[in-house]
């Protein structure tokens, strides 16, 4: 199944390289939504920033599609570009520093954002983590990526990823337990 998806992605990417816009749509249909989600998480919850990052990612994909050498899966390659774009965008817009004043906060499915509740505090804690740990946490808990794929996206060994993941998770757990609201 996964191999079939990879093959389909590769075929779509080849078609994009030859100028087929519909192939890009096919690729986007499979990956754009999870990419937007990941980008939003990396950029502090801003939807507009996430759209900008993904749009730029697609533009890079279109321009670089002919140079894809197949050393990794297309999905991993897409997320690799996306993560870099999010880093650049975050630097420019200082998302981490202004996370609490971001115009578009994460909205839960059925409840308003409340920084005083646990999810809000966890979000705040995640954004306060070092960038490397934050990216690892979000990538690993992203529904679209496995740990191995996350390690490939970040360009680090799987063991390193797991180590940092444990460290970040432990930090969040400690934060949650020590700063529990009265």
């Amino acid at each position: 199944m996964r191999m079939e998806r990879d093959a389909a992605d590769l075929a779509s990417l080849r078609a994009v390289a030859s100028g087929d816009t519909d192939a890009l749509g096919q690729l986007a249909a499979r990956h754009e939504r999870p990419m937007l989600g990941l980008a939003r998480g990396l950029l502090g919850g801003s939807r507009s920033d996430a759209e900008d990052a993904v749009q730029t990612t697609w533009a890079s994909v279109i321009r670089s599609s002919g140079r894809f050498e197949g050393r990794s899966s297309v999905k991993t390659w897409l997320y690799h570009i996306l993560v870099n774009e999010c880093r650049d965008l975050a630097k420019r817009r200082r998302v981490v520093a202004n996370a609490e004043s971001a115009p578009d906060h994460i909205a839960a499915t059925s409840e308003q954002v409340n920084d005083d509740d646990d999810p809000g505090r966890i979000r705040r804690a995640v954004l306060a983590l070092p960038q490397a740990q934050r990216e690892i946490l979000l990538l690993c808990f992203h529904n679209g990526l496995t740990h191995e794929q996350a390690a490939s996206v970040l360009g680090i060994p799987a063991g390193t990823l797991k180590t940092r993941l444990r460290a970040g998770y432990a930090t969040l757990r400690q934060f949650l337990t020590t700063e529990a609201p009265a």
């Binding site: 990794s72 991993t76 529904n143």
Partner: protein, 412 residues
Amino acid sequence: MSDMHDKKIDDTLRAMTEWEGDAPSVWKRAAADVKSGPATTRRSLRDLLTSRVPRPFLSAAALLLIVVLVVAALQTQSASRVSISETNLKQFGTASPNVDNAWSAPRDMRDPTQKRQIQDEWIVFGYEGEGEPHLTGGGYGGSGGTAVPTGAREWDGRQWTEAPNNLQELTTTSLARAVVRKATMQLQTPDVRAVYLKATQIISQARGEFISDSALQGTDESLQAHLTLRVAAERLDTVLNELRELGEVVSEESGGDDVTDQLVDLQARLRNEQRVEVELLELLQTRESAPLEDILELRRQIGLVREQIERYEARVANINKLVSLATVLVIIRPAPEPQEEEEEDKAGVGAYFMENLSAAWSTGLTWLSDSIAILVRAFVGGLVWWFLVVLVVLFLRHLWRAAPPPRAQTTD
């Protein structure tokens, strides 16, 4: 409890990476942007670096820039020349007067014209007579020597030796050139009068040297002198060396006029006239019974020939005299007064300290300005290279970022 916390963390993290609502199809906007052209933002540079079309252009532009820089550097090196200081030329002149420089380029004895010329020169310069002997092989003339046939003895500076009979064995290095030598030297000295007097003592009257012109003008600080020395050509170097020791040489020039051809021509004409005279005299002796008019006409012709001979001889003698004596013009000027020494401040240690502090301050400022100049020079001079370095860094950064990560080892 911890399980509940973990669950909250997991749920929150997943929620943070989920996209609520419909996907806005930003891929369409991206495709439209790519078709319309790169954005004029910072990303446009990345797009420029990553796009297939601009990258070769960028590479070609970088390569062209490097080629231009290399060519410009080579042109700059080849265009730079060590220029001979005009001051040095003026001061030291061209090559110092040297007899050997009077020699002409080697001539070919197989050439009949050159051979005849060589023969004539040999005839002219090989003689024995009174006074200073000629030196074959030297650029000297004599004083009023007469021509003798080939095969005469030659003077090598120490003794008379038999001249070689086979002219083809001669090389041009053994033949003389007649060169009228001239030199000009300007001296600077605190005591103009003393140097003037010493300069007048340099000549050697025994060698026929003399001062053709001299003058001492002005007073005190404006005192100047000039002398025109006529010295033996072979002593020119020695005289110039002695003059250099008298004062500071401000300028020095030397040169020579090659009058060999002129002299050879005169000698040839003289020889010809002498032959004509001999023939006319023989004719006069054999035609004693000729009519009076013929005899008178013959005598008149002999007179004309004799007149021409004496004219040629005088010119030859004059040239030989010019060649034998070089002309040295010496100009003596007063040296500028040295700056008065500042009066020493004898105030003691305090003054000494302040003086050193002032000097140190000046030196420090100089070093500071030098350091700043070096930095500015490095920055401005290497501006093109900084630009290239930035390009390379951006290019490599892009490669690093856009390069697909290593193939993931999947477990599912």
